[in-house]
Symmetry: C2
Subunit: 380 residues, 2 copies
């Protein structure tokens, strides 16, 4: 049984707004102004000069050794203890999750947070079966519901979680739940797939679930927020070597991580440019998130959860967010209705919108939120 | 039922020989000296200057429109009529084949040539079932055996073929078989997956199967031989829009084709640099293939098939090629035993070696073949 993916709500909106001039509170892209263009350009020139044609040869499965070493050092910089674990390089975190889902959830049951990001969930849906949804609150996944499922005899091969700056809810999983989840993964023999793309831009990300149990957790990292999404480089980190080897063999079916881009990223990491940007990145996104939160309050719009950082806020528009969207687009603002992120509680969620602070400036964020408010008033 | 891939014989050998100084007749990489380094470097500089940070944003599913337009023009230059068909950009041809295999062969039967390239076959094996092997001769796949299978009531969802400069056999499928295969795909309702990476370096590639039936054929193209494998860009071309859309949605699970590399390739194609290199590329590889053929004759080693071009020759070493390999490596030459490329006739194939003319120079090819001969003599 194959569940072929539909076009995601984010992609679908991106197609609708392509070429239109609207305030973009929809895209999950990071702020383009934070992409270190000069450093990246310099790294391309240096790598081409140093490696010549070798920089354009086949990458080999699982990533270049020199990049893997730099990724381990990077993990240390962001508070992820990588010693003793294996790194598999992938072409972006989304690719990593697809390979992991094939490795751990094919023809098997899996659990995930509700709401969650539909594009990554599609990777589990493709070959997995009998998904179990675990609702989240302001402290992340409600593990007592996971435990209830186990006590009813349910079994899962994998639990997919975004514990830091959740997409779309914006919350961090609490410290006690992280260690508890790690323990549950050991006790019940499932793999915890820890999707952690927002750690580099989160003010206080805390210890990853991975740090509590590196053998039962597959940690997925991304360079899309700390460097640039267009390089398409992410990674899997796990002390479960059997799983790492399987992911590496699956990566052989794609061979998709550009050699030159791996060398460029390796160079950027080695230079220290990326770790030095961590503090400025965190302040920048914190400032934008505050601008968005303040503007929502000023316009009498409620947050469903208080975000801990990252790119997303989940706002309750008080009207049907799907039906409002065409009017908001006419007013000049795009957002993603959050309904597509929810499996359960969809009646309540029909009023929710995922607002992104990635591509828009602080002024644009404020304008965008005012335009949403106007669209709501038009509607009433 | 998931058939997880093992490490391919080519990857496995590449791991064994990493860092060792041996004549490389194993790797399927193109000749590094033919990578247009200056033009590629120029294109990176131009693209970064023109697009700035946009060059490093998310690529969006299925490829950039401007690259898709350039790929259609490129198809015309290599004799593939793309009008009316849809292009989906992928991160390399291997990735394209993986997405196609998920789209057309998951939980279904498929057919393939025997021998064939195990790395691409692994993509069909992953989710497909009941493979049917169609032996090849010097004119490609023996379609009468495909027809016999149909007459026995067998059904396939897909037929995977490398009709030009076959890997590992080196042969071209004959013109009459190409049109016949296209007709069979219409009559029996299967998708012909036409893997055509060597067309840009083949002296006389002929018309693709795709040209006879663009709706029942998914044509897979690669830029690894005409530009560079390290960019990781390939594509699917088909007039079956339902299939193209499905592949695009599956690509959304990976999002793996680097934005900057797409823009760089688009620029290189638009400049005419790539089409201008077609003739020099074809002469260059023809010369190397002749050097290899002559040296095999001089050393009394037989070809299993006369190659029509491309990177590979299938040689009969007259001894067990798997057992000989460690001795050949000690002598200083690497090749890939062809046994791993065969499903049937494995007793006969145990003496065969796939020799690649990609990375080695003409002198190195001659040296390598002499070293293989010495290893055989050591052995006897």
């Amino acid at each position: 049984m194959i569940n072929y993916p539909s076009l995601s709500p984010v992609e679908s909106l991106s197609k609708q707004t392509r070429g239109r001039s609207v305030v973009n509170l929809a895209s999950g892209s990071p702020d383009p102004s934070m992409i270190p263009l000069r450093e990246i350009h310099g790294a391309y020139t240096q790598v081409i000069s140093e490696y010549g044609r070798l920089a354009f040869s086949y990458p080999g499965a699982g990533g270049l050794e020199e990049l893997k070493a730099q990724i381990k050092a990077w993990c240390k910089a962001i508070g992820v203890p990588a010693g003793g674990s294996k790194v598999v390089v992938t072409s972006g975190a989304q690719h990593a999750i697809t390979l992991l889902a094939v490795a751990v959830a094919a023809n098997r049951s899996y659990a995930h947070e509700d709401p969650t990001f539909p594009e990554t969930l599609n990777s589990f849906r493709l070959l997995g079966k009998t998904p179990v949804q675990i609702p989240i609150d302001h402290r992340g996944a409600q593990l007592e519901i996971l435990e209830q499922a186990f006590s009813k005899g349910k079994k899962f091969s994998a639990f997919y979680t975004i514990p830091v700056c959740h997409n779309p809810a914006g919350v961090n999983m609490s410290t006690d739940r992280r260690s508890h989840l790690a323990q549950l993964s050991v006790d019940h023999g499932f793999t915890c797939v820890e999707d952690d793309p927002y750690r580099p831009i989160c003010p206080e990300p805390g210890e990853p679930i991975f740090s509590h149990s590196p053998k039962s957790v597959a940690y997925v990292g991304s360079f899309s927020k700390a460097v640039a999404p267009g390089l398409r480089i992410g990674f899997v980190l796990t002390a479960n070597h059997r799983l790492a080897n399987l992911v590496e063999r699956l990566e052989q079916l794609d061979f998709s991580t550009s050699t030159i881009n791996q060398l460029v990223l390796s160079r950027l990491l080695r230079s220290g440019a990326v770790s030095k940007s961590l503090e400025p990145l965190r302040s920048h996104y914190h400032m934008k998130l505050k601008a968005a939160t303040d503007e929502l309050v000023d316009n009498g719009l409620e947050l469903v959860f208080k975000p801990a950082g990252g790119l997303f806020l989940l706002a309750d528009l008080g009207v049907n967010a799907v039906k409002l969207l065409p009017k908001a687009l006419r007013r000049g603002v795009a957002y993603v209705p959050a309904l597509g992120f929810y499996a359960r509680g969809r009646r309540k969620a029909s009023g929710y919108a995922r607002l992104s602070i990635g591509p828009a400036s602080c002024d644009e964020i404020a304008t965008g939120i005012r335009l949403i408010k106007k669209a709501i008033l038009d509607d009433s």
